[in-house]
């Protein structure tokens, strides 16, 4: 009757396959941090409000503190550790976060950068309003957001001029 009560899962994290044995009640954030040593995703509020635990699952931002690890079996997960270039160079968004001093304590930063990446994928040239709208699920208690917004604007500007159809997969409308 039960098609799956196995706890063996495979997660592709930052391009690398990991076979893991997990309990059904294990949360993705804890598996990433404790089993795989990827501490970029932060445990913040634990209740899906602050966005510090954001990771990308099959390219979509998801809150890893309210995601069961078993439920993402077979999926591709990207954490902040996985966005650097092939030679370890920073992602343009990371660089602009540094340039704009968009980081103080740094706790929100991994989630903020992953959400920014998601925004620029959907909408390569967002307005300031669109940026603020897209990062509204990520709480920063240090910077006042202005540096973060500027950093995302600058990273967007580095992507070149708007193209007639710059959207990656037609999901631009989400960032309105």
């Amino acid at each position: 009757m039960l098609t799956s009560c196995s706890n063996a899962i495979v997660l592709t994290v930052n391009g690398e396959d990991h076979m893991l044995v997990v309990e059904p009640n294990e949360l993705l954030v804890n598996v990433l941090r404790n089993e795989l040593g990827l501490t970029g995703a932060k445990y913040g509020c634990g209740t899906g409000q602050c966005g510090a635990c954001t990771v990308l699952i099959d390219g979509q931002p998801v809150l890893s503190c309210i995601t069961l690890a078993v439920a993402v079996d077979g999926k591709e997960i990207t954490t902040i550790e996985g966005i650097e270039g092939p030679n370890g160079e920073l992602d343009p968004i990371q660089e602009e976060f540094l340039n704009e001093n968009a980081v103080q304590c740094g706790f929100c930063t991994p989630g903020m950068i992953l959400v920014a990446r998601d925004l620029l994928r959907r909408n390569p040239h967002p307005t300031e309003t669109e940026i603020r709208h897209h990062i509204k699920g990520n709480i920063c208690r240090c910077t006042g957001y202005n540096g973060i917004v500027r950093a995302i604007q600058k990273a967007a500007a580095r992507q070149g001029e708007p193209q007639s159809d710059g959207t990656a997969d037609g999901e631009k409308e989400v960032s309105r």
Partner: protein, 296 residues
């Protein structure tokens, strides 16, 4: 006795996790386990409830991959699969460009991390009085289609919620889809929400749908969330406006009638008096927006 310590770092209760490959299998599991089983769609509510110790299912049934729950259809009836992610529903609604109240309600849910996994089925089935999709769907006279291993039934949404966290669905039933009739020409809707910050749970919400014939309102639906034990229709103000010529400040004058159908409480988000005052204002805003939209 001190309050139990809630640790949201881990999920403490044990459960079995199942991924059925078909809806039939889900229904049989729910039939077999009854209240001990809980369907998991996006998990943004269920996992949180489990963390907070409010729910402790012994079997968690993952329904997120079931194609049977993902219909999106717009012919004479608009059908939205209960298991469709908000992000897909939003794109579908924006293409239709007609059901603005529901579109705005989903936009208001807000954060991208919830839009990518959350579903209307979850929003309605969890029975929250503050469920953002409920008021616009109430103004559309929406129905929910629920199914068990034994039968399928269609329930008018206004009969669906029975109290905070409670619905008429039996533990062995699951929501398949939400449906409502396509708007005739001249009908439009709007949604308004007040929340403390962008992504917070609503303090209160109001949706309006109107049918406009020149300057006369021939059909009016008003519904509010987070102002009663369930999302409610504001029937007194509906009755006052239906058939009425809408000039000057008719809606503003009728706004006080909203109070007749609500029974708000004080809670951590705001007080009863605030909700009573704000409900009329929110209604007026939503009405004006819907009325303007119905012009063309």
């Amino acid at each position: 006795m001190s309050a139990p310590v809630i640790n949201t770092r881990v999920l403490v209760n044990d459960f079995e996790y199942v991924v059925p490959s078909s809806l039939d299998e889900v229904l049989h599991l729910l039939d077999e386990h009854g209240r001990d089983a809980k369907p998991l769609a996006g998990g943004t509510d269920l996992v949180l409830q489990m963390k907070l110790g409010r729910r402790a299912p012994r079997v968690v049934v993952d329904i997120s991959k079931l194609e049977e729950l993902k219909r999106l259809e717009a012919v004479e009836t608009i059908r939205i699969g209960a298991g469709r992610r908000y992000i897909d529903v939003l794109r579908f609604l924006r293409e239709l460009d007609r059901y603005h109240g529901l579109t705005e309600a989903i936009e208001g849910i807000g954060k991208i991390q919830v839009l990518t996994v959350g579903t209307i089925g979850g929003n309605l089935s969890n029975g929250s009085p503050a469920a953002d999709t409920a008021p616009p769907l109430l103004t559309y006279d929406a129905r929910v289609r629920v199914r068990s291993a034994h039968a399928e039934r269609v329930i008018p949404l206004h009969e669906f919620h029975t109290g905070p966290g409670a619905t008429v669905m039996a533990p062995n039933e699951i929501m398949i889809e939400v449906e409502f009739d396509a708007f005739p020409d001249g009908r439009a809707s709007a949604f308004q929400k007040i929340a403390r910050v962008a992504c917070d749970i609503s303090k209160l919400t109001c949706a309006v749908a109107v049918q406009r014939d020149g300057e006369t309102c021939t059909h009016c639906r008003v519904a509010l969330g987070a102002v009663a034990p369930v999302p409610v229709r504001a029937r007194a103000v509906e009755a006052a406006l239906e058939g009425r010529r809408i000039d000057a400040d008719v809606a503003g004058q009728c706004a006080a009638l909203v109070d007749e159908d609500i029974s708000p409480i004080d809670d951590i988000r705001c007080g009863e008096l605030y909700r009573r005052e704000a409900a009329g204002v929110l209604f007026n805003d939503a009405f004006q927006t819907a009325w303007e939209r119905a012009r063309c």
